[in-house]
């Protein structure tokens, strides 16, 4: 489930509010609020769309988790999904890296 909006990085662009398919966030005058955490379906898409790497979705789908933002930043886990799918400037080449055709038919 979504656990963190990092207040140091977030620029209050509200992209996450718009893109979350299950409407977990609410707009505020500043940084969005995780308003309905229990509705989070753990799809990781808000994280993928956040341009500032300010969000962290914990992989535990059924219960909230305590997370340590400093440690997550240390381990470069914020934004790691964006990098892995090639949605950052440094990782663009990964957009064509899909090798599923080598794996099908196993």
């Amino acid at each position: 489930m979504i656990e963190v909006i990092d207040t140091e990085r977030c620029t209050a662009c509200d992209i996450c509010v718009n893109v979350c398919p299950t409407n977990v966030f609410d707009k505020t005058d500043g940084i969005p609020r995780i308003a309905r955490q229990n509705d989070c379906q753990t799809c990781f898409l808000c994280e993928l769309y956040c341009p500032e790497d300010a969000l962290f979705v914990s992989p535990f789908a059924d219960a909230p988790q305590e997370v340590d933002v400093a440690a997550l930043k240390e381990a470069a886990l914020l934004g790691s999904y964006r990098r892995a799918v090639g949605w950052t400037d440094e990782s663009r080449q990964l957009r064509t890296a899909d090798r599923s055709y080598r794996l099908f038919g196993h």
Binding site: P21, R95, S100, Y101
Partner: protein, 542 residues
């Protein structure tokens, strides 16, 4: 069938905060909905697309990505592709539909390439088009939908359909949940592309998929079919949402003590896993993937690894607990019955595409996951959009139409006790999640479960409308309930094991059941046997 629950409330006062009048309304913005909207617009229609979430991130494909049934148009390869799953599907497929889906998928995939989808290229320089990365694909589809001139309403779940005095579908009404108001879109034709029903099981990206489109359509009298082929369960880490079963073909499965579970496997041995899970925890480890395969896995499906990298598990060298999450009709086959090549339903003006429509024509009684569902979403989306645009053109001016609302459960004044969405949804889950009810089916247990589900239905049908902020949840729960009842009535009617439908009391495939099971109805759920279409053709030819 007439529907005694119908409100038939005239659409006059307080229509909504946003009122639009168009040719074609598409409900759902996954691959099926976006292809339908683009196709309708390209066939000259003015189009609105309304999605429950955000068109581009919502639905099963956006979160997951899909293998696609894309086969080069080489006759032997096409023949092989059609033949390969006929036995698995219990010989319920239709070769003519398979061929046209292969053709259409080829064309649509190549259009994606023209639009700039970054397909990979193999060592020989050949583009590989049988897999799509979900976020990438759906971001592109949103862009192309807008470029086609379609008006997109995000966070705008449809709650009910509108019909005219002749029973022709005339639009839909719903909520704009981020604005706290309502929308009404009058349309000459509607495409239902709301996906399947995964019963809020948290299977990747699927909590928006609660069978809403089935309920909306059934309220106007539409039929469903193949709903017994809806017991798809997928493997995921026990704690997580990522249900990608392909990679578990490199896994070994063990019990608590670390002993191998005989016969357990992702393909052909998933029922062994289900049985083992009833006895205790089951663990997997992807220890059969060599280092090259591991590398391909990482770059092909990055989100598969999120649950592992974020919990410090190395899935190739360490065991982790797994579970089976219900995916219902998202990876099953059942859905709205379509009656012609344009993907029209049994109700005039209503078309269906993607998981919301039956995939029996190309999958038979087996799951369409792994490739067929994605091909179906593209193809049926294209046809439904074209069909809806054609229907709208023929209908002509509709300014004199008397339009009424068709929503039933959760809309009426009822007995004063408001429908409790959360409680109802949990009640339905209690009937469809358990492996002993849904995975392994048997007349006695199905009958008992149906008695409880029918009880939920009478209660829900008598209940009063909930508060505005609970209305969507109430309609979702009602749609899940209706879906469960169609599934189990159909499962009782098929007294054999075929495709993915397994009956403990009838373990063999039985030739007398080589037909489709049609179902429908709300207060009274009915089923009937329907011959295969190609059997009808051959009879006509005799």
């Amino acid at each position: 069938m007439t529907n005694p629950l119908s409100r038939a409330e005239k659409l006059s006062s307080s229509a909504g905060s946003l009122v639009l009048d168009v040719d074609v309304l598409v409900l759902g913005g996954g691959p099926a909905g976006t292809w339908a909207a683009i196709s309708a617009a390209e066939h000259g229609a003015r189009v609105v697309l309304a999605d429950k979430g955000f068109c581009g991130t919502s639905g099963a494909t956006a979160a997951a990505g899909t293998g696609v049934w894309y086969v080069d148009p080489v006759p032997e390869r096409r023949e092989g592709a059609m033949a390969s799953r006929e036995k698995l599907g219990g010989y319920l497929q239709d070769r003519r539909w398979m061929a046209r889906v292969l053709d259409r998928t080829f064309t649509q995939s190549n259009r994606l390439a023209d639009w700039g989808y970054p397909y990979p290229v193999d060592e020989g320089g050949k583009p590989q088009r049988n897999s799509l990365q979900g976020p990438e694909y759906m971001r592109l589809m949103r862009k192309r939908t807008k470029q086609a001139g379609v008006t997109i309403l995000d966070h705008a779940p449809a709650l009910e359909l509108l019909v005219d005095e002749n029973g022709v579908v005339a639009g839909a009404a719903g909520l704009r949940r981020q604005r706290g108001d309502r929308w009404v879109v009058k349309a000459k034709a509607v495409v239902i592309a709301t996906g399947g029903c995964a019963f809020l099981s948290k299977t990747l990206g699927s909590n928006v998929l609660t069978g809403d489109g089935y309920l909306l359509a059934a309220e106007t009298g539409a039929d469903l079919t193949s709903m017994e082929f809806s017991n798809a369960y997928a493997i995921s880490p026990a704690f997580g949402s990522v249900t990608k079963t392909l990679f578990y073909s490199w896994a070994s499965f063990t019990d608590e003590e670390g002993s191998r579970i005989p016969g357990a496997s992702s393909k052909g041995g998933r029922s062994v896993i289900a049985r083992a899970l009833r006895r205790g925890p089951v663990y997997a480890q992807l220890d059969e993937a060599d280092s090259e395969t591991q590398r391909h896995m990482r770059v092909s499906q990055p989100n598969f690894f999120l649950p592992f990298d974020r919990t410090g598990i190395d899935p190739f060298t360490q065991r982790f607990p797994i579970t089976l999450r219900l995916e219902g009709t998202v990876r099953g086959t059942g859905g709205l019955r379509i009656v012609d090549d344009d993907c029209a339903t049994t109700v005039p003006g209503l078309f269906a595409a993607g998981d919301a429509a039956t995939r029996e024509l190309i999958c038979g009684g087996f799951t369409g996951g792994g490739s067929h569902n994605a091909a179906w979403a593209m193809s049926s989306g294209y046809w439904a959009g074209q069909g809806a645009a054609g229907f709208a053109r023929q209908l002509g001016a509709t300014s004199k139409r008397q339009v009424s609302r068709r929503g039933t459960v959760a809309f009426r004044s009822g007995n004063g006790r408001p429908l409790q969405a959360g409680k109802l949804a949990r009640g339905v889950q209690g009937e469809v999640f358990p492996y002993e009810l849904n995975y392994f089916r048997e007349a006695g247990r199905l009958g008992e479960s149906l008695r409880r589900l029918d009880g939920f239905w009478s209660e829900a049908a008598d209940a009063s409308a909930p508060a505005e902020q609970d209305l969507l949840r109430a309609r979702e729960a009602a749609a899940m309930l209706a879906t469960a009842r169609w599934m189990y009535r159909s499962a009782l009617a098929r007294q054999e094991s075929r495709g993915m439908h397994r009956r403990d009391d009838y373990p063999e495939q039985d030739d007398r059941y080589r037909h489709y099971v049609t179902t429908g109805g709300l207060d009274e759920v009915w089923t009937s046997a329907r011959p295969l279409a190609f059997a009808q053709y051959s009879e006509a030819a005799e």
